[in-house]
Symmetry: C2
Subunit: 380 residues, 2 copies
């Protein structure tokens, strides 16, 4: 997607509707962790429109950034219009004499039509509303590090738990005599994250054949000598920034093929990181990972109508969203100083399973830095 021209932001008023959970742009613009939907408007000055219940907090948080907090009441709306967010917006845009307004692609259709009906032109933003979100400042890096730290500690705890397990006669893992399941490991990860004020809804603990599907969360008893993919991407519950890490381990010993896969992915991870620095095209980072895997003989394509091999991008930006710009994949974005990106090559074959290794790093003028380093263990 094309980046917005720098001038466009200042020139065209913008409006967005969102809450803390659904709309990272809203949190980025306002700093307000709105529990329910609220409105942000830039029309020369900046405004937030919230329900009366939220007014006090919106005033306090918005005030720090010079954002004026409004409510349907302070906008002097009456009756049913007080309950209709699109009426809040129209009233303010009219008051500020706005003729054209920019909205994000996912702006609510009904609200967009209502604004049009009021004679205001609605323009969908060609790119992100806040392209500057991709370059993190010192505060943001500190916050992402907090979440990454939680993810690393939880990863280590999970690996320790698997390493401590015993292998029973049938090849299952047991801890304290009981079968060790994906669910049990996931619960322990969740507990550790919560201790660090962080939460991950879709913790992946996928063993054996389940690991061959990169989105599979995993369930049931874990087995020895098979890959176990641990992918943890927690969000801090106070400030909302995310972290992201993946490790793949085998309890017991891996087959020669699995071992070759692991080393190929590790090499691809290193090759991709070796390309990362400000000014480099994201696509060239992705290409290094893909070529490293291909060079080691691992094919990407279709097998029985199912995609196999390196079937996803090399990485993505991390910030107030777990997947944000820049995408480290087939696109023409250039990396910039302050980008926080994951590097996570992987290989997936239904008959063997999946291997993925992921770290989150910050892009620097000369290269990159780990946010929080974490050792890589495989056979444990």
């Amino acid at each position: 997607m094309k980046r917005m021209r720098t001038g466009e932001k200042a020139a065209t008023p913008m409006v967005l509707i969102g809450n803390a959970a659904s709309c990272p742009d809203f949190v980025y613009a306002t700093g307000f962790q709105a529990p329910d939907d609220a409105v942000f408007v830039r029309a020369g000055r900046e405004f937030m429109i919230v329900s009366g219940l939220e007014f006090g907090r919106a005033q306090r948080v918005g005030g720090e950034r010079g954002i004026e907090a409004l409510t349907p009441e302070t906008l002097k709306l009456k009756g049913a219009r007080r309950r209709e967010m699109s009426e809040w917006i129209v009233r303010l845009l009219k008051r500020e004499r706005v003729g054209v307004v920019m909205v994000p692609r996912n702006f609510p259709y009904a609200a967009g039509k209502r604004i049009e009906k009021a004679g205001i032109r609605v323009k969908v933003a060609a790119g992100p509303l806040f392209p500057e979100r991709a370059r993190k400042n010192a505060d943001e890096l500190r916050q992402i590090k907090q979440s990454q730290q939680a993810a690393v500690i939880a990863t280590r705890g999970a690996i320790e738990m698997i390493a401590r397990s015993e292998i029973d006669g049938a090849g299952f893992l047991r801890l304290g005599g009981k079968l060790l399941t994906s669910e049990a490991v996931r619960r322990e990860i969740g507990r550790v994250l919560l201790e660090h004020d962080a939460f991950c809804r879709e913790i992946i603990v996928a063993g054996g054949p389940q690991s061959a599907d990169p989105h599979e969360q995993g369930s049931g008893p874990l087995r020895a000598h098979e890959p176990i993919v641990l992918d943890i991407f927690p969000q801090n519950l106070s400030h909302g920034y995310w972290g992201d890490i993946t490790r793949t381990v085998v309890r017991g010993s891996a087959s020669p093929r699995l071992r070759r896969m692991y080393h190929a992915v590790k090499a691809a991870h290193a090759a991709a990181l070796g390309r990362v620095r400000a000014g480099v095209r994201a696509s060239s980072v992705h290409r290094s990972a893909a070529e490293a895997l291909k060079r080691r003989g691992f094919k990407t394509g279709e097998e029985n109508g199912r995609p196999v091999g390196f079937i996803h991008g090399t990485g993505h930006g991390v910030g107030l969203a777990v997947h944000e710009r820049p995408s480290v994949s087939v696109n023409s974005d250039r990396l910039q100083t302050g980008n926080v990106i994951t590097i996570e090559p992987g290989l997936y074959y239904p008959e063997v399973g999946g291997i993925r290794i992921e770290d989150t790093v910050v892009v620097t003028p000369a290269g990159w830095k780990y946010l929080v380093p974490c050792e890589k263990r495989f056979e444990i």
Copy 2:
């Protein structure tokens, strides 16, 4: 908002975009816990369009309901169109010869405009896309009960924790010698919820003056002889149904005024429940609660420009969203058998604090039933 006419659903094709976290309607329609945005289309038959990565699971889950899973590839889209969800939709609507399509109010504006551009009329639904969501079937009731059970156990644990605390010379609560804080109680609640596969992002543990703001999550040391509002609304992490409960306790002894407030709220809670049964207007349930509070001398209005008294509705529906239909407030909806609603009157005065008591019940032809009963304790 007006309810959709029953015939409208069958007559007009519909389309919606969403994922498990953002769109309860999507989960309701498909049963698919989509991690990323996906498309649901009803056009005679029902379809789900997902990315290639999700195809296997979408096919499996959709298959159980006769929903056909599609991907950009199976729709034979090429190049950039493969990555654009609105192109997926247009291709399918054209293939199915759809001329008018209904969308929810929050349908993405850019996608709506793209569909219009393809010559298909876009109609915003006047009411909910699935009005039947408000009446829960046996499976849904079982799932809501699971979340409510987790909420009740966590509430009891929190109350026990506060009851066990000691009151120090300065009137602060201490547990094991350490100051007992909102954060510590919240962490314990989160831990218990997670043990029950449930999560609540905004657990409220608000003490003293903080309790006077019904949305305040609470922070810092808790004090004796002041109200502590515990509001816990967890979502089950597997099936996505919510629970909701609030208790207000005082460690030590409440002032006579606070005690009168508590008993008024308890009486309002009982009065509202006394009105609940299928066929009754939700507004009359709300009115009983409001009148019970007024009769006991508790005024609702403004004090120094701030709303005080009974400043919110009596309740809301609970299901795949924590706030859904029917609203138990000033509206003309009639309660129906199978509605799951909260009853949660409250009183809020800045100089005293807040009191709220909330239970979640299912509406029956003759009255109502608790989903999971929980005792009411006040001074502990």
